[in-house]
């Protein structure tokens, strides 16, 4: 009897430990190998979400799947189209409700670098946190996350992909997969990149535009500048990554019409009207521009900085001060660039278009590829 009891106890322990092991077994995954220019600098991948091939494969499928929306018609890719550098060409995006959203769709590129806060107003501090917000937003994808998980658990393809990547289907693993797919969206083969690598030379007009882009004007030393560098870093062309340095009030509105911007996150009055400086990578294909898509063309954008600036309490002193002619009065804020300089800056901005990125099959819709194979 005593021996039988011991055998039963051992059997129970073995069964329990086997169940525990199977439930907690981590899938065998493989890290993504990628390259990026060293001038992009340090990047951050969260320790709890390693960049694995399995999670990226899953994330890509989720990104393109309208199953993630309440009416099964809207996917992440609806507002983030690869050919438009993952923007949608609209003034502000439109989701399941049909009601135009408050913001213009942001380009998804080189997201491992640049500001650590996402969305135009910085309301999300990680790609993982960001990923679930549009899915659950009533006007964007309007999906109940628990119902989505039930649907995913009824889909053999997803069961397999989630098991391989994370060993489970959960809101957390959905977020991790989407974040990791977005991390792989690296654009580093534009003409500007080729120029930086010494492979090509820019035309004289593009080179003039590059110099203007990189300079804050200083009339005391006759340095002419487009002042772009004060908000857009020299290599990434995004906003800066440290604290909230990547956010700025660039004079779109006066105090009466100023939107909350970063203030909605920090509740700091000094941040009212500050919005994220977006990457300018592929900027020629991501019109319209600004957080509310108010400018249709790059010419409109340059015209804004060349005389359209509106004063407000939090307007950047750098924008007020930047002028290519000695200031005689402070009422009218303008860079005072001439037409040739404006054209040159726009020519340089076109060198940031990365055709390879815009057509890279690694980032494209997997459902189309599957249908073609059928």
């Amino acid at each position: 009897m005593k021996t039988a009891n011991i055998v039963v106890v051992i059997a129970v322990i073995l069964i329990a430990s086997t169940i525990y092991y199977l439930n907690n077994k981590k899938p065998v995954t493989h890290l993504v190998e990628f390259t990026a220019p060293f001038v992009f600098g340090r990047f951050i991948i969260p320790p709890n979400n390693p960049l694995t091939m399995e999670s990226v494969l899953l994330g890509k499928r989720l990104f393109y799947d309208p199953l993630l929306s309440s009416n099964n018609q809207v996917s992440c890719a609806t507002c983030h189209k690869q050919s438009l550098a993952f923007t949608d060409g609209l003034k502000t995006s439109v989701g399941v409700s049909g009601i135009p959203l408050a913001f213009n769709s942001m380009s998804l590129v080189n997201l491992m670098w640049g500001p650590r806060h996402f969305f135009w107003n910085g309301r999300s501090s990680s790609l993982e946190d960001q990923a679930l917000q549009p899915i659950q937003h009533a006007d964007e994808m309007g999906r109940n996350i628990d119902e989505l998980i039930v649907d995913l658990k009824n889909n053999d393809t997803y069961i397999n992909l989630f098991m391989l990547a994370f060993g489970e289907i959960s809101a957390q693993s959905i977020a991790k997969a989407l974040a990791n797919f977005q991390r792989t969206l690296i654009s580093s083969n534009s003409r500007y990149d080729q120029y930086l690598r010494g492979e090509i030379t820019l035309s004289s007009q593009e080179e003039n535009g590059r110099k203007l882009f990189m300079a804050h004007p200083d009339t005391k030393v006759t340095l002419r500048g487009g002042n772009c560098i004060d908000c857009h870093s020299q290599f990434l062309t995004s906003g800066f990554s440290t604290v909230f340095d990547g956010f700025s009030n660039n004079g779109l509105d006066n105090d009466q019409t100023l939107k909350a911007g970063l203030f909605s996150l920090t509740k700091n009055e000094a941040h009212r009207g500050l919005f994220k400086a977006p990457t300018l990578r592929n900027i020629a294909v991501t019109s319209p521009y600004m957080h509310d898509g108010r400018f249709a063309t790059l010419e409109d954008v340059l015209a804004h900085y060349n005389g359209g600036i509106k004063r407000s309490k939090t307007l950047s002193p750098l924008i007020i001060e930047a002028d290519n002619i000695p200031k005689t009065q402070n009422d009218h804020i303008s860079l005072n660039l001439n037409d040739n300089e404006i054209t040159a800056i726009i020519a340089f901005l076109h060198t940031l278009t990365d055709e390879e990125f815009l057509a890279n099959s690694a980032f494209s819709n997997p459902f189309i590829a599957e249908n073609n194979n059928d």
Partner: protein, 255 residues
Amino acid sequence: MTKSTTLTVIFGVLIVTTLTTVWLRALPQNLTLRFHPYVGDKPLVLYDQSYKNPGGNGDFSIRDFQLFISNIVLDYSSSSIKEPESYHLVRFDDNTAFDKIIIPEIKIQNLRQLSFAIGIDKKANGTLVISGDLDPNSRMAWNWQVGYKFLLLEGMLTVQEEQLPLVYHIGFNESYTELNFDVSNEKISNNGVIDFKIDLLRLFQINSSHLNELTNQQSSEVIKYIDMSELSHVKFSPDDVRIIAKGFHDFISIL
């Protein structure tokens, strides 16, 4: 308890405390350099607080203030420690009272002198090396042909309701300024903290108290300041940069 017993207890506690302090200081511990921003004798409060233009009319407020502290060296009586990758961006956000640099696990006992520089040395300033807080894609980078801003100070001067932007982006190799501090034990707290004051007004000083310290003369000269409205932006003009960077010598002091 008799009087002599009481004295013995007090004496004993004092000895134990002293020995413990000496013992703790002999152990490796973190050395924390805390930098407190000031405008004259007033703590700097960003955005909301106004300060008098030291050399002219009007009041100014500061929106952003950042600077590079680099190449920290700790000197002992017979040795010295040079911090590796010693490039620290000291910045003040959301009205935090101070920013700090922590040098981990060093011997604080017998520390004689502390040295560091304001700015980036010529070698690092002329390359795209990513070391410490150096980041060529940061707000402190101009572009790869110019190097880094050593100090960024931005704000607004209001004179009779007219607003004048203040932009001081101070860089260039010539502005790199090394500072030395005598740090005998009483200047370091028991938990290994040295408090520094960064006084913005020193940047706008016309006559330097540093010269008086060098000559060890007590000066009765009244300190004169630059009118900020006359020098509201300094970026690439070497003469203007020199005027502001001269203040780096007196910019930081031990509190």
